[in-house]
């Protein structure tokens, strides 16, 4: 992982109070691995998916303080599509740039690891303020 990416990830470790980044909370489904502090969630747009490396980049932020978080996505991490209300399991390869996701994740020495990923809509179509 590039140094700059590590730095960007570090910016998202601490929970933030507003908007796109949600208050710290437990994941709604069983985590793939036991959570370790710090444990956080992020809601933002997918800016890159690397199926081979099993990572996703999620862009989010507060106002113009825009950040990206790269999440490793182990094979057993539940990825669901909630766009039409009911959760349907999807694969990492079905996520695409511009999808709005909500991800619970934790920190590891190698970076951030996703516990759950939910697709809640797309930027183009919009997502309500409090999905």
């Amino acid at each position: 992982m590039q140094r700059s990416t590590v730095i960007s990830l570090a910016l998202l470790v601490a929970p933030v109070a507003l908007g796109a980044q949600q208050h710290t909370q437990q994941p709604t489904t069983a985590p793939a691995v036991a959570p370790a502090a710090p444990h956080d969630t992020v809601r933002g747009a997918i800016s890159a998916v690397d199926v081979r490396a099993r990572t996703v980049d999620v862009t989010s932020g507060v106002g113009f303080a825009i950040r990206v978080v790269r999440l490793a996505v182990p094979a057993d991490v539940p990825i669901t599509d909630r766009e039409d209300g009911t959760p349907d399991r999807i694969t990492l390869g079905e996520l695409k740039r511009g999808d709005v996701v909500r991800a619970a994740f934790g920190a590891r020495p190698t970076g951030f690891v996703a516990y759950t990923i939910e697709r809640v809509g797309t930027m183009e179509a919009g997502v309500a303020s409090t999905p």
Partner: protein, 383 residues
């Protein structure tokens, strides 16, 4: 009644009848809200130093360094720089707002410690950048009312496919989490609070509970020792108070209109300016009574419009380089420069620089008799 009591009564009456001035709070605040407004103004007018957290990268040492003319919350002559990557020639071209480099705002100043460590005077622009945009400081009067306009109202003006064939096709921008955007020249930011909280970090380098960690130097970490202040550099109360000051700033009340200006207001509609510069927007339910169910004479629809390739600069989320949010015109008479980059020095020049979806309205204005043009300009100078 004594003569002294009469004088006092007259002074109180005069104060009550005083026309609101730029920088005044909204009318009808509770005592507690007014106290928060006053305390928030003090934070807004604070100047930060490196010892208390300024920078190491920054555009200003405090909010009022830019939002200053003629009072705190007004516009300013500072210009800052935003950058992005956009390759329209590539199939499926997407907008890269440089999130992995710390976002599109590239600060133009550094603290002495960062200069000593890296030998830079501003944040370096990465070589991948395709466009650098200039952004002037807008006034923020009445922004609390804009924040209180329901999403549904803004979306009701959207016509992305121009189904009514009026040549105007406003569409919404969205923040990265899908929420409707409304603040910023490209309508990216959904709420005033987020705009304010983010600005502390991105403009002043002041970390806070909403943005608790410093940014980067174009994606690289800050050198050790260049940011000695402990994070977060201001607390949640300072954020709340600053937000309340900004939120409760009243829009400057329009000046009394002459007969010519009133006619100019009609011409403003006739030539089609109101297709984007919607004269009034309603607010919805709001916990602050002074913001709840009001009409704000904003002269904006808070949507994106294509302003033509001549004005194009950066992309920003869903906004293409050509697209800009309709600039609110409330307080226009106080402005000393116009358009997002300040290149227009008069309202006439600003009208001349309108293109894209505004071409028809601009050309109709130019074809008006001189008296009608003068009337429209007289109207604008009352806002």
């Amino acid at each position: 009644m004594t003569r002294g009591a009469v004088v006092i009564a007259l002074l109180v009456l005069a104060a009550a009848c005083r026309r609101p001035q730029p920088g005044d709070p909204l009318p009808g605040l509770s005592a507690a809200e007014r106290a928060q407004f006053d305390s928030g103004r003090a934070v807004f007018e604070s100047t930060f130093t490196a010892e208390v957290g300024l920078g190491p990268l920054f555009n200003a040492s405090g909010c009022a360094e830019c939002h200053e003319d003629p009072v705190a919350g007004a516009n300013g002559d500072e210009v800052e720089h935003h950058a992005a990557v956009f390759h329209p020639e590539r199939a499926g071209a997407t907008c890269d707002v440089l999130a992995d480099k710390g976002g599109p705002v590239f600060q133009d100043s550094v603290t002495p410690a960062l200069h000593a460590a890296l030998g830079i005077d501003q944040e370096p622009r990465p070589p991948i950048v395709t466009t650098i945009a200039e952004r002037t400081t807008p006034d923020i009067f009445g922004f609390g009312l804009l924040d209180a306009v329901p999403d549904s109202v803004i979306l009701s003006y959207a016509d992305p496919d121009d189904k009514n064939h009026d040549g105007i096709s406003g569409r919404p921008n969205r923040f990265f989490d899908g929420r409707l955007g409304r603040f910023g020249r490209k309508a990216l930011v959904p709420s005033l609070r987020e705009f304010n909280d983010g600005a502390f970090q991105i403009e002043i380098g002041i970390t806070n509970p909403s943005v608790p960690v410093e940014g980067t130097v174009a994606g690289d970490s800050l050198p050790t020792g260049t940011d000695p202040a402990r994070d977060p550099e201001i607390g949640g109360r300072a954020l709340v108070l600053t937000d309340m000051f900004v939120r409760l700033l009243a829009p400057p009340p329009p000046l009394k209109q002459s007969k010519e200006a009133r006619r100019g207001g009609e011409v403003f509609g006739t030539v089609g300016c109101t297709g984007c510069h919607v004269p009034k927007l309603p607010t919805g339910d709001n916990p602050i009574v002074a913001l709840s169910h009001k009409e704000v004479a904003a002269y904006t629809d808070l949507l994106l419009h294509d302003m033509g390739p001549e004005r194009a600069d950066i992309c920003f989320a869903l906004a293409t380089p050509n697209e800009f949010r309709t600039e609110p015109l409330m307080g226009l008479r106080l402005a000393t420069h116009f358009m997002h980059d300040g290149r227009a020095k008069t309202p006439e020049e600003a009208i001349e620089l309108h293109a894209g979806e505004a071409t028809r309205a601009r050309d109709l204005f130019k074809s008006l008799p001189a008296a009608d043009q003068a009337a429209l300009l007289a109207f604008l100078k009352t806002l």
